[in-house]
C-alpha cells in the first residue's frame, strides 16, 4: 500500500470520526432524553381538559404552590448549610497529609453515592421515633436538612477541596506577610480564588436537593413534599398524568434556568491549568494537629454514625447479634420480593455494568467535543449534557414510561433500566473527564508531533493514556450511581427483576423485624459494593482533578 492512499484513508477515517464524535452523544441524548421529555410535554398539554389546563391547575392549587415554595427554600437552605458545614473538611483534605488520608477521602464519598432511600432510612434509624439519639426529628425539616448535608458533604470536599489543593499556599502566605490575619487572608485571598469551585459545588448541591426524592419520601412522611415527590404521588397514587407532566415540565424549566446561569459562570473559569503538585503537607504545629483532628472527628461522627447504624441494625435481628438477615437473603420461599434478594444483587451488578459502558462511551465522546471544540458548539453541548443531571430521576423514569409504549412497547425491556441509569451517570462522566482533557498541555501534544507522531498518533500516545485514568474514575462513578439509583428505576422495574434499592424499598414496606433487618443487610451490602467502586476510583485518580 502506498503512503498516499494510506494518508487519504486516514483523512477519511478522521473526518468520519469527527462526525461520529458529535453524532453519537447527540443521537443518544435525542433518543433517550429529549424524546421522553417531549412525550411528557405532550402528555401535559393533551390532558382531558386539554391545552394548558394542567398548568393552570398547578398554579391554581395552593397545595401545589406550597410544594414549589418548599422545594425552593429547602434546596437553598440545604446548599448553604452543606457548604458551611463541609468547608473545614475540604480544607483539611486539601492542605494536610495525614495517615489514612486517601482512605478517608474515599470514605467521605460513600454517602454521596449511597441510594437516597438508604440515606433516608439511616436517618430515620438515627432521628426517628425510636431513633438511636432519643430525639424524634422525623417529619421536621431538620431531619431532611441534616440528611441533605450528609448526602452532599462529599461534593464540597471533592469540588472545593480539589481546587484548594492546587492553590499556591504562598498566595495566602504573601497576604499574611502583608499584614492580613488568618481570617482576613482567607476572606480576601483564598475565598475569591475558591469561588469557581464553591459555585460549582453549590449549583450541584442545589440541583440535587431541588430534585430530592428518596430522602424526602422517607423522612418527610408526605407532609413535606418536593416537586419530585409530588410527581411520583400524582402518577402512582392519583394516576393524574397531566398534572405530573405539567410539574415535570415546570421543574425542568426551573432547572434549565439554573444550569444556564451556572454554565455562564463556568465560562469565565475556563483556564488551562497545570497539574500542580499536590500542596498537602503534614500538620506541624499543635494548632494544625487540632484542626485536622477536630475536623476529622466531626466528619467521622457525622458521616459514620448513620452508616454504622445501618450495619448494626442489619446484625440485630431479634435478640442479640446474628447474621440471620444476611443468610436469609438467598431464601426464596419466605421472600416478599418474588425472587431471592441475592438475585437483586446480581441484577444490580448486571445493570450497573451495562449502564457504565453506555455512560463511558457517550460521556467520553461528549467530553471530547466539550474539551476540544471552541465556541458555541462546546458551550451548548456542555449545557445539554448537564440537563440530565438537573432532570430528576423521577422525570426520566416517568418520561421513559410515557415515551416507550408505542409504536413498539419497550417498557418491559430490561434494557431501559441501564439506559436510564447511564443517562444519569453521563454528566458525572463528562464532569470527571473534561477537566483532565483540558488540563493536558498543548505542549505535550506538540512535543509528540516534533518527535514524529502524526496528529492521531499524538492523541493516542499522549491524550488517551492520560484520559484513560480519568475514564476509570468515571467508570467507577457510573457503576456506583447505577447501583444506588432508585427514582427512575421505581418507574421502570419489573416485579421479577428488582434491583437492590427496589428490594430495600419493598422490604422496608413489609412488617416484621426480619424484613427490616434484611433491608438493612441489603443496604449494607450495597454500601460495601459502592465503597469498593469508590476505592477503585481513588487508586486511579491522577492528582486531584475532576469535579467530583
Amino acid at each position: 500500500m502506498t503512503t498516499l492512499s494510506r494518508k487519504r484513508r486516514a483523512a477519511w477515517t478522521g473526518g468520519l470520526a469527527r462526525i461520529l464524535v458529535v453524532a453519537i452523544p447527540l443521537g443518544f441524548l435525542a433518543a433517550a432524553f429529549l424524546y421522553p421529555l417531549g412525550s411528557i410535554l405532550l402528555t401535559g398539554l393533551s390532558g382531558e381538559a386539554g391545552g394548558l389546563a394542567p398548568f393552570g391547575e398547578v398554579f391554581g392549587r395552593a397545595s401545589l404552590r406550597g410544594v414549589a415554595w418548599f422545594t425552593l427554600w429547602q434546596a437553598i437552605a440545604s446548599t448553604i448549610l452543606t457548604v458551611v458545614v463541609a468547608m473545614p473538611a475540604a480544607y483539611v483534605f486539601a492542605r494536610y497529609d495525614f495517615p489514612g488520608r486517601s482512605l478517608l477521602r474515599a470514605a467521605v464519598t460513600i454517602p454521596f453515592v449511597l441510594p437516597t432511600l438508604v440515606v433516608g432510612s439511616a436517618f430515620l434509624a438515627l432521628l426517628g421515633p425510636r431513633g438511636a439519639l432519643g430525639i424524634d426529628l422525623s417529619s421536621t425539616i431538620w431531619a431532611i436538612l441534616l440528611a441533605h448535608v450528609f448526602y452532599n458533604y462529599a461534593v464540597v470536599v471533592r469540588t472545593v477541596g480539589g481546587l484548594w489543593a492546587h492553590l499556591d499556599p504562598r498566595l495566602t502566605e504573601a497576604a499574611r506577610v502583608l499584614g492580613a490575619g488568618r481570617w482576613r487572608a482567607f476572606r480576601t485571598v483564598t475565598l475569591p480564588l475558591l469561588r469557581p469551585a464553591i459555585a460549582a459545588a453549590s449549583s450541584i448541591i442545589f440541583l440535587f436537593t431541588f430534585t430530592s426524592f428518596g430522602v424526602i419520601l422517607v423522612l418527610g412522611n408526605l407532609e413535606f413534599r418536593t416537586v419530585e415527590v409530588e410527581i411520583w404521588r400524582q402518577t402512582m397514587s392519583f394516576l393524574n398524568l397531566p398534572v405530573a407532566a405539567a410539574l415535570s415540565v415546570l421543574q425542568l424549566a426551573a432547572v434549565s434556568l439554573i444550569l444556564l446561569t451556572y454554565s455562564r459562570y463556568q465560562q469565565r473559569r475556563a483556564v488551562e491549568q497545570r497539574l500542580a503538585p499536590a500542596t498537602a503537607r503534614k500538620p506541624q504545629t499543635a494548632r494544625e494537629w487540632w484542626t485536622v483532628g477536630g475536623t476529622l472527628t466531626f466528619t467521622a461522627l457525622f458521616l459514620g454514625t448513620p452508616l454504622l447504624l445501618l450495619v448494626e441494625r442489619s446484625l440485630q435481628v431479634g435478640e442479640g447479634w446474628s447474621t440471620t438477615a444476611y443468610t436469609s437473603l438467598a431464601d426464596a420461599s419466605d421472600s416478599s420480593l418474588f425472587v431471592p434478594a441475592t438475585e437483586a444483587i446480581a441484577n444490580s451488578i448486571g445493570f450497573g455494568i451495562v449502564a457504565m459502558m453506555i455512560a463511558l462511551v457517550v460521556g467520553i465522546l461528549a467530553a471530547t467535543v466539550i474539551a476540544y471544540r471552541q465556541g458555541p458548539v462546546s458551550q451548548w453541548f456542555d449545557l445539554l449534557l448537564m440537563l440530565p443531571l438537573g432532570t430528576s430521576a423521577v422525570t426520566i423514569g416517568f418520561g421513559f414510561l410515557v415515551a416507550f409504549d408505542s409504536p413498539v412497547d419497550l417498557r418491559t425491556s430490561p434494557f431501559l433500566i441501564p439506559l436510564a441509569h447511564s443517562l444519569i451517570a453521563i454528566p458525572f462522566v463528562v464532569r470527571t473527564v473534561v477537566p483532565v482533557m483540558q488540563a493536558i498541555r498543548r505542549r505535550l501534544r506538540e512535543a509528540a508531533r516534533v518527535l514524529g507522531a502524526s496528529p492521531f498518533r499524538a492523541w493516542r500516545e499522549i491524550d488517551l493514556p492520560l484520559i484513560a485514568r480519568s475514564g476509570l474514575v468515571a467508570a467507577g462513578f457510573a457503576f456506583a450511581i447505577s447501583l444506588g439509583e432508585f427514582g427512575a428505576t421505581a418507574f421502570l422495574v419489573r416485579p421479577e427483576r428488582p434491583t437492590m434499592p427496589i428490594a430495600i424499598f419493598r422490604l422496608l414496606g413489609r412488617p416484621g423485624d426480619l424484613n427490616f433487618g434484611r433491608a438493612m443487610a441489603l443496604s449494607t451490602i450495597l454500601m460495601v459494593l459502592t465503597a469498593a467502586s469508590i476505592m477503585v476510583i481513588e487508586r486511579f485518580r491522577l492528582g486531584e482533578t475532576g469535579e467530583f
Partner: protein
C-alpha cells in the same frame, strides 16, 4: 543545511517575526540571542512546523518545508518547560521518537541507554519522571530530543529555570555533547554568556528582526548598534568626535583604533578602563558594589554621566575623586 528566507510570522495581526533570514550549516551550533518577546520561541516553532509562516520559505538542503508536516521534518525540539510526558517512564519518554520511526525494540533499547549515558543519567530508564529535579528533567528532555538523531536540534532556553551554578556546568557539558556528535543545532537564549559559550555563530534577535549576526567574538568585539551593545551587557556608551586616533567625549579624550574621523557612538568595554593617577578622565565615585571578584564603581563625570568601572584591587571610598584611563574604545 537549514535556510530561512525572508520569513514573516504574524499572529492575530501582530508581526512576531519580520523578514528573518537565517542559515545554519551542517554541524554548526547557532545561538539565537534576544530579550523576551523578541520572537525567539516563535522562530523555533516556525522551523519545527508548529507555526506556519505568514510569508517566506524554509528549506532543508534545498527542499521546501512548507508541505512537510511537523512529524516528517526530522527535527528535534527541546521545549523550554521540557514537556515531558507525565504518564511515561524516563525510558519511554526517550524512546518515543524512536518508536515513531518504527525501529526494532532491541535497537530502541540500545539507543535509549546510549543517549541516557550521554546526558549522564545511566540506569534511569525505568524511573518515573515525576519527582525528578530540574536538572534531571532537563537531561531527560535533552535525551528525548537527541535519541531519534534529528537532522536539526532546536533548544528553547533549555537552562532557563535552573540555578546559576548548575547552568554554568551544564552549558559546558552541552557544548561538548553537541561538538562530540557534530549535531546541527539552534540554541535560543536571553543570556549572553550562555550564547557566547554554546555558539559557533551568534544571531541577535530584536523585535522579530535580525539585529546582528557573526561569531561570538566578532559580535562581542563590534556590536552593530547601541541597543545591541547594551543588550550584550556594555554599559559605558558615549557620543564622540574622532580625529587622528583620538576620541573626544564629554568624559575627556582617549585613544581609539578607529581611523576615520567623524562623529560616532563609542562603547568602552569594562576591561578597558582602569584607575590611573595620570588618567585623562576625572570623576567622583557615586556608588560602590562588591561583586565577589571585583568591585563595580558608579563614577559621575562632569556631574552627569555615570561610568561603570570594574576594579579588582582595593576600591576608593564613595565620594572620592578619582582619575581613570581608557585604554580602548569601540566605535559603533
Amino acid at each position: 543545511m537549514l535556510l530561512v528566507e525572508r520569513v514573516t510570522v504574524e499572529i492575530l495581526g501582530t508581526a512576531i517575526l519580520s523578514d528573518v533570514d537565517i542559515e545554519v550549516q551542517d554541524g554548526e551550533v547557532l545561538a539565537v540571542l534576544g530579550p523576551s518577546g523578541s520572537g525567539k520561541t516563535t522562530l523555533l516553532r516556525t522551523i519545527a512546523g508548529l507555526q506556519p509562516p505568514t510569508r517566506g520559505t524554509l528549506r532543508w538542503d534545498g527542499e521546501d518545508l512548507a508541505r512537510v508536516p511537523v512529524e516528517n521534518r526530522g527535527f528535534g525540539l527541546m521545549f523550554q518547560d521540557y514537556a515531558l510526558f507525565p504518564h511515561q517512564s524516563i525510558g519511554a519518554n526517550v524512546a518515543f521518537g524512536l518508536r515513531m520511526q518504527r525501529r526494532p525494540v532491541a535497537e530502541i533499547d540500545a539507543r535509549v541507554s546510549e543517549v541516557l549515558d550521554w546526558v549522564g543519567l545511566p540506569a534511569y530508564a525505568d524511573r518515573r519522571i515525576t519527582n525528578l529535579s530540574g536538572g534531571e528533567q532537563q537531561r531527560v528532555a535533552l535525551a528525548r530530543a537527541l535519541a531519534p538523531a534529528p537532522r536539526l536540534l532546536m533548544l528553547d532556553e533549555p537552562l532557563g529555570s535552573l540555578d546559576r551554578i548548575l547552568r554554568e556546568r551544564l552549558i559546558v557539558e552541552l557544548r561538548q555533547l553537541l561538538v562530540d556528535h557534530s549535531i546541527t543545532a539552534v540554541y535560543v537564549t536571553h543570556d549572553q554568556e550562555e550564547a557566547f559559550t554554546i555558539a559557533d555563530r551568534l544571531l541577535v534577535l530584536r523585535d522579530g528582526t535580525v539585529a546582528q549576526e557573526g561569531t561570538p567574538e566578532s559580535v562581542y568585539r563590534q556590536p552593530v548598534d547601541e541597543w545591541t551593545a547594551r543588550f550584550l551587557g556594555f554599559r559605558n556608551i558615549v557620543r564622540a568626535d574622532v580625529t587622528e586616533g583620538t576620541a573626544r567625549t564629554s568624559w575627556g579624550s582617549f585613544p581609539t583604533q578607529h581611523e576615520r574621523p567623524g562623529s560616532f557612538t563609542l562603547v568602552i568595554p569594562p576591561d578597558a578602563i582602569e584607575l590611573d593617577p595620570n588618567g585623562a578622565v576625572r570623576g567622583i565615585v557615586d556608588s560602590r558594589v562588591f561583586r565577589g571578584g571585583h568591585h563595580v564603581l558608579g563614577v559621575s563625570v562632569t556631574g552627569e554621566t555615570i561610568l561603570d568601572v570594574e576594579i579588582v584591587g582595593p576600591p576608593p571610598e564613595i565620594g572620592a575623586e578619582i582619575k581613570l584611563r581608557v585604554t580602548n574604545a569601540v566605535v559603533l
